[in-house]
Symmetry: C2
Subunit: 354 residues, 2 copies
């Protein structure tokens, strides 16, 4: 038996999460399944189930102390969010969800009533997204966790990958961004104040109700998928925002072998998100670019196709361009006119602005 203390151990932080995924993917080798359309590397896997239909498979876990804080995460919202983050991956392939499995990791502190409340949120998500929980498990765990797998479906020709962006496409985003991160900021501050002031603390969260809701119970943008089908248009490339807009645009550009020019003043930001950033004395564009967990969709489409869509349903935030500088495939023009490289984690010189 090998020892877990064997020599030459490399810390995962040395290569990062995406580096590790690349290493593990290499370990598995090239898949050889004839019906597999797309394996590791996009928001979901895609495989054929008959001549023109595909299924899509994705999995995501939320763990207490890492992805949520039980002190401010209502259990019902936890159930809803665990489904949403998976459904968002299905939507990010221009597909619809069908079946889910839910595995509940139970720590000692979890009661029957808490588990039931989590499942109320699961049920609410199933009703909202028209899908069915078909299985799962309850397991003992060190911390409360919810692992969800979702099977989606689509016509094979309708599936949109992150790799399809074309030079000349408009770069667009649904809804508004940065709200989830703003909500998290408020919740963390609220908890700190509660810890410090105890029962004397009278929180007033009313001015932040939208951003808090966006953090705790984000909806997946399935309606957008339906709107595109109704309008008879299909994006060229598509990805959802889980890690933050800057990171996702980089993934999309890398997979599509293109560059992008973004316009900072065009970023769609809700007034409440702006007010929250002002309240914290921070740059709201940072929230929008690197905040994460928005679960909006980023897509690219020729301008003429955009005309078929409700203009309220999306915002053009930039253009897909030929990649000029391979080290800086994504540029962002700021309000003052300066055009700077956008790093996956934000601006090159974000730190001296925040």
């Amino acid at each position: 038996m090998e020892s877990p203390d064997a020599p030459q151990q490399t810390d995962i932080s040395n290569i990062g999460e995406f580096g590790l995924i690349a290493v593990l993917r290499d370990k598995l080798g090239e898949p050889s399944d004839d019906d597999l359309v797309s394996g590791i590397g996009d928001d979901t896997a895609v495989y054929r189930v008959d001549d023109d239909r595909v299924h899509l498979l994705t999995t995501d876990t939320l763990t207490e102390g890492i992805h949520f804080d039980r002190a401010f995460m209502p259990m019902e919202h936890l159930g809803f969010k665990a489904l949403s983050v998976n459904v968002s991956d299905i939507a990010a392939m221009n597909a619809t969800p069908r079946y889910a499995t839910v595995t509940l990791g139970l720590s000692q502190q979890v009661s029957v009533e808490m588990a039931e409340t989590i499942y109320e949120g699961v049920k609410e998500a199933c009703d909202a997204y028209d899908m069915t929980v078909v299985g799962g498990d309850t397991v003992s765990a060190h911390a409360l966790s919810l692992s969800v797998t979702v099977v989606g479906e689509a016509d094979e020709n309708d599936v949109v990958y992150r790799s399809g962006a074309q030079v000349g496409d408009k770069l667009c985003v649904t809804g508004d961004i940065g709200a989830s991160y703003a909500g998290l900021k408020v919740l963390v501050r609220n908890r700190q104040q509660l810890d410090e002031q105890g029962e004397d603390f009278q929180p007033n969260l009313d001015p932040f109700s939208y951003v808090i809701r966006r953090h705790l119970a984000p909806p997946a943008q399935l309606k957008t998928v339906k709107d595109w089908a109704d309008a008879g248009v299909t994006p060229n490339a598509l990805i959802d925002i889980s890690d933050g807009l800057a990171s996702e645009v980089h993934h999309l550009c890398e997979a599509s072998e293109v560059g992008a020019q973004l316009y900072e003043p065009a970023l769609p930001i809700d007034p409440e998100t702006r007010n929250t950033a002002t309240d914290f004395g921070e740059d709201v564009n940072r929230y929008a670019l690197i905040g994460g967990e928005d679960y909006e969709l980023v897509f690219t489409m020729p301008e003429e196709d955009l005309d078929a869509l409700d203009p309220q349903s999306y915002t053009v935030i930039g253009d897909i361009e030929a990649p000029e500088d391979p080290d800086h495939p994504v540029l962002i023009q700021r309000a003052d006119g300066e055009n700077v490289p956008l790093q996956p984690g934000g601006y090159d010189h974000f730190d001296d602005r925040a």
Copy 2:
């Protein structure tokens, strides 16, 4: 927001894991999906993908400190076992695995090399079971964990449920049982001796190599599924042994609304498992009945169909009978001729024998 300290919290131990699953299942209500053949309640979910083909979906998690001890679980075996336990659920529906997603929960102590070694085991399992990893994730976690989801496939008419046992069927099991538990006993003792004696300890695990292997890297019984197809026979009811034979036979009888008569001397037990129990001064039948993690298949079949099978590939351990006493649907006749009720966790009076 609700408080996690709300009143009237019921400890999950009050209703048990199966009680909790029943509560959560009720919460979700009856599924209404036309293509869903079987949802929560069997080893996997089953749904139609075309006129006569179904897919099967199952998920299982192994967590450090709960399902395995990193001190004696080689990382390669961990990867293999995490796939095996899921493939075993697919085999327990008389189906074959096709695709898997693997989510690696990474604690601080996990290095790049350890993750790679885990994936060597994942790859080995994919090759052994002829399946493909199509996705997954790496997530931060409090403890090392491996969450796997497997999609399997079968003709709809070939799928076997735990609910199909018929009075008059022979109750059978593949391979041998109790070995995994015997291996666990040896590994735990070995670790304790190492802790106590430090570097002076010279373990000799050679006499236990089979039972240790059965615990650390159990194979799923896919070959049996193939043998049945080749012989042109199908069991009436089928379940795999994850929680222990006694528990699984109860699940099968409850779902099928039948009783069972087992014969203790017929239980297939490897000589090394017997020697291990003797070494510990324990009853080997206890290992076989409640040990768990054998991942053999329990099936029921009419006697005439059994004639088509290789007699080396299974053991008849009892008969399916009409249920007489609803409180004791399963009886076991011991070597001395006494016929006693078998509880899901073992004999009624197991404690005074062990």
